[in-house]
Symmetry: C2
Subunit: 372 residues, 2 copies
C-alpha cells in the first residue's frame, strides 16, 4: 500500500470482486459497473471545473448515487461535505455556507425542502432517475444522470496525486452547545479509524461479527462518519452491499428478506422498530449513539439478533465496542449484559476516564469521569 | 492511537486482559506477570548501558524469554536482531558482525554451537532457568534471570520517546544470491503489515480464521518476521499464547492437547509431520514458505484442519493469502483448490505481475511474470 486513499479501495474491489453487487433503489450494480459510473462522474465533474479542494455538499439518504460521490470526490481530491440533515434547517444552511459548498448534490426527496437555498449556491445537481423533473432555476443546474453521461470512462488525471493526508470529507455535528462544529477527515485517518472498527468486530466471535460473506445494509446515514465506515467496508472486503434509500421499517424488512441481509448498523430506536417486524432474525446488528435499554437487549437476543454496541465521539471515530470477554460463556445473562454495556477500547486506542480537572479517576467501577 | 510502537500492544493487553496467559517451557505467565518481567529486564538492560539504537542479537527458539526481549527492546528503543539460525554458520556470524550486535542473548540450546563466537562480541546473556550453568568466559556475561532480577519494576525512562518510525528489528534473509541481506523493520510498518495479515484472516470465514478466542501456537520461528507477526497478534487481541520451545512433533501434539491449541502457523513440512500424529484435528493452520502439494491439502482437510496459505517476500511482509472466494461453496473440491493455490492480495496491497523488462503481463491465467 503506497497511498491510503479512499478510491484505492475501489481499485482493489474491481480487481478482486468485479461481479460483487451493490443493490440500491430497485437496481443492482456490479462493482465493475459501479466503478464505471464513478469514473464517468468524476471525469464529467472535472470538465465542469471541479478540482482538488473543491467542496461538494451532498444531501441524500443512503443510495448508490451518494456512494458514487464518495469515490468520485476521492479521485478528484474534492472535499465531500456530507450534509447533516438532522440539523435544524438554519444550522444546515450555516454548515453549507461555513464550509463553502461550491456544488450541492440533492436527492429529489430533499429538493423541495431546500428550494429557498437555490440562489445561495452556484451549482446544483438533482439526484434522481427521473430526468423530466424540473431543475433548480439557478446559474448552473444538472440532472445527475445527464452529468454522469457527459463523462468519459477514464480516471481523472489527478487521481494518483491525491495523497493520504489530504482532506477527504467534512461533517458538521451538533455538539452540545453553540453552532454546529465541522470535523475534517483525512483519507488516511478516516480509513484507519473505520476499518479498525470492522477489524475489531471480525476478531470477536460473539456480537455483530463481520466477515466477507455477510450482506451489509447500513441504516446509519452516510452523513454520519460515512455510515460508521459502511461506505468503505463492504467495498474493502468485497461483500454485497444493500442501500436502503428511503425505505421505512417494513420496506427495510422486505429488503432484508429479498437480498438476504445479514449485517446492519442502526440506532436503538431503529432496532426497536425492526424488532416489531415479522421475521427479523439471524441478523448481526451494530448499534450505538444512544443508551440501550436491557429490555431491547433481551428482546433482540430472543429474536436471534446478535448485537454489539459502539461508543465514540464523531471526532474520534470509534473508540470502544462492547464485547463478550473471553472468560465469559457466550449464551449467559452475563454475556448479554456485557454486550449491552461492556465497552472495551479498540486495540491501540487509549481511553482514560478523567475528572473535571483532567486527572484520571480510579478504575474501581464506581468513580465517574469523562472519556478522554 | 498516538504512537504505533510494539510495547504499546503490551500496555493495552495488561489493561484489557491482565489474567490472560502465555504458556512456555512448562510454565505459565499472566499478561500482568509477563509485563512485570519485561519492565524489570528493560530497566536492568538500561542500567547496563543499553540505550536507543543499541543492537541486540537473540538466538533462540520460540520461548517466553525471546518474546520478553521483543517488548523490552521496544521500550528501550534498542534494535532487536532476530538471529536467523537457519543460515549457514559463517553466514550467521556475518549477519551478527554486519549489523553490529553489542549484546548477544543465546539460549542454552544454542550456546554450545556459538562458543567460538564468544570473543567476537562484548556482552553475552545465557537464556536458561538453570543459573548454575557455566557462562561464556567473556568480558561481560550474565544469566538471563539474574539480569532480569537486577531490574526494578518500572518502565525505562525513554519508553515514551520511542517513535513509530524508529527501527524495531532487523532480520537477515538468505535471499537467493550472495551474502545474507539485512531487512530493517520500523515499528509502524511492522505492526501494520503483520496485523493486517491477521485482520485479513479474521474477515474470511473459511480457512485459518482467527478470533480472540483461539489459542495460538507459532511454529514459525520468531526470527522470521517475528513468527509472521505472532509475537504481536495474541497480545494485541488478548488471546492465549502457547510457545513450543524445542518441542518436536510429538511434544507439540502434547501441548496442543493440554493447552487446547486451536491456531498455528508452520511450513508444509511441519504440517506433514503433525498430520502423522494421532489426534491432530480441529486446528486452523496458516502455512506457506514453500509449495503445498495437493496430497497434503487433502490429507489436512480429511483430518479436520482448516488451512490457508500465505505468500510474501520477507521485505514485503505478507502480500497475499489463499481464500475461498465468496461465490465458491466451502466444502467442495474447488474450495480446497482455492485454499491451496488461490492467492488473493491483502486489501490495500497492490500486486502486479511483470516480465523481465518490468512491464505488466496479461491477467490471463497463462502468462508468467515475477511478483512486484
Amino acid at each position: 500500500m503506497k497511498n491510503f486513499v479512499v478510491h484505492q479501495l475501489l481499485y482493489h474491489a474491481v480487481i478482486t470482486h468485479p461481479e460483487q453487487v451493490i443493490v440500491s433503489d430497485g437496481k443492482q450494480f456490479t462493482f465493475r459497473q459501479f466503478y464505471s459510473r464513478v469514473v464517468k462522474l468524476a471525469d464529467s465533474l472535472s470538465k465542469h471545473g471541479v478540482k482538488k479542494g473543491t467542496v461538494i455538499g451532498v444531501l441524500d439518504v443512503n443510495t448508490h448515487r451518494f456512494l458514487e460521490m464518495h469515490f468520485a470526490c476521492s479521485m478528484l481530491g474534492a472535499v465531500l461535505h456530507t450534509i447533516n440533515f438532522r440539523l435544524a434547517p438554519e444550522q444546515m444552511v450555516y454548515s453549507m455556507v461555513h464550509t463553502g459548498d461550491e456544488w450541492v448534490f440533492v436527492s429529489d426527496v430533499f429538493a423541495p425542502a431546500v428550494k429557498p437555498l437555490f440562489p445561495k449556491f452556484p451549482n446544483w445537481v438533482l439526484m434522481s432517475d427521473n430526468r423530466e423533473q424540473s431543475l433548480p432555476e439557478t446559474r448552473s443546474a444538472f440532472h445527475y444522470e445527464d452529468l454522469l453521461e457527459q463523462g468519459e470512462e477514464k480516471e481523472p488525471a489527478g487521481a494518483a496525486q491525491v495523497k493520504e493526508n489530504d482532506i477527504f470529507s467534512i461533517f458538521y455535528t451538533t455538539g452540545t452547545t453553540g453552532k454546529p462544529k465541522g470535523i475534517q477527515y483525512k483519507h488516511k485517518t478516516l480509513l484507519y479509524g473505520t476499518l479498525q472498527l470492522f477489524h475489531h468486530l471480525a476478531l470477536h466471535k460473539y456480537g455483530a461479527r463481520v466477515s466477507s460473506r455477510n450482506v451489509y445494509m447500513p441504516l446509519i446515514p452516510f452523513f454520519h462518519i460515512h455510515a460508521w465506515g459502511m461506505a468503505f467496508f463492504p467495498i474493502y472486503v468485497g461483500a454485497k452491499l444493500v442501500l436502503p434509500g428511503t425505505a421505512d421499517p417494513a420496506g427495510q424488512m422486505a429488503l432484508i428478506q429479498k437480498e438476504k441481509v445479514s449485517w446492519m448498523n442502526m440506532v436503538p430506536t431503529q432496532l426497536q422498530m425492526l424488532l416489531d417486524q415479522k421475521g427479523f432474525s439471524n441478523i448481526n446488528v451494530l448499534t450505538g449513539g444512544s443508551p440501550f435499554a436491557s429490555g431491547i437487549a433481551q428482546k433482540a437476543q430472543d429474536a436471534g439478533v446478535n448485537f454489539s454496541l459502539i461508543y465514540g465521539g464523531s471526532d474520534q471515530l470509534a473508540t470502544a465496542i462492547s464485547v463478550v470477554p473471553e472468560e465469559v460463556e457466550p449464551d449467559t445473562a452475563e454475556a448479554l449484559e456485557w454486550r449491552r454495556v461492556g465497552m472495551r477500547p479498540l486495540p491501540l486506542v487509549e481511553v482514560s476516564l478523567r475528572d473535571k480537572s483532567g486527572n484520571e479517576v480510579p478504575h474501581d467501577g464506581k468513580s465517574l469521569g469523562a472519556v478522554w
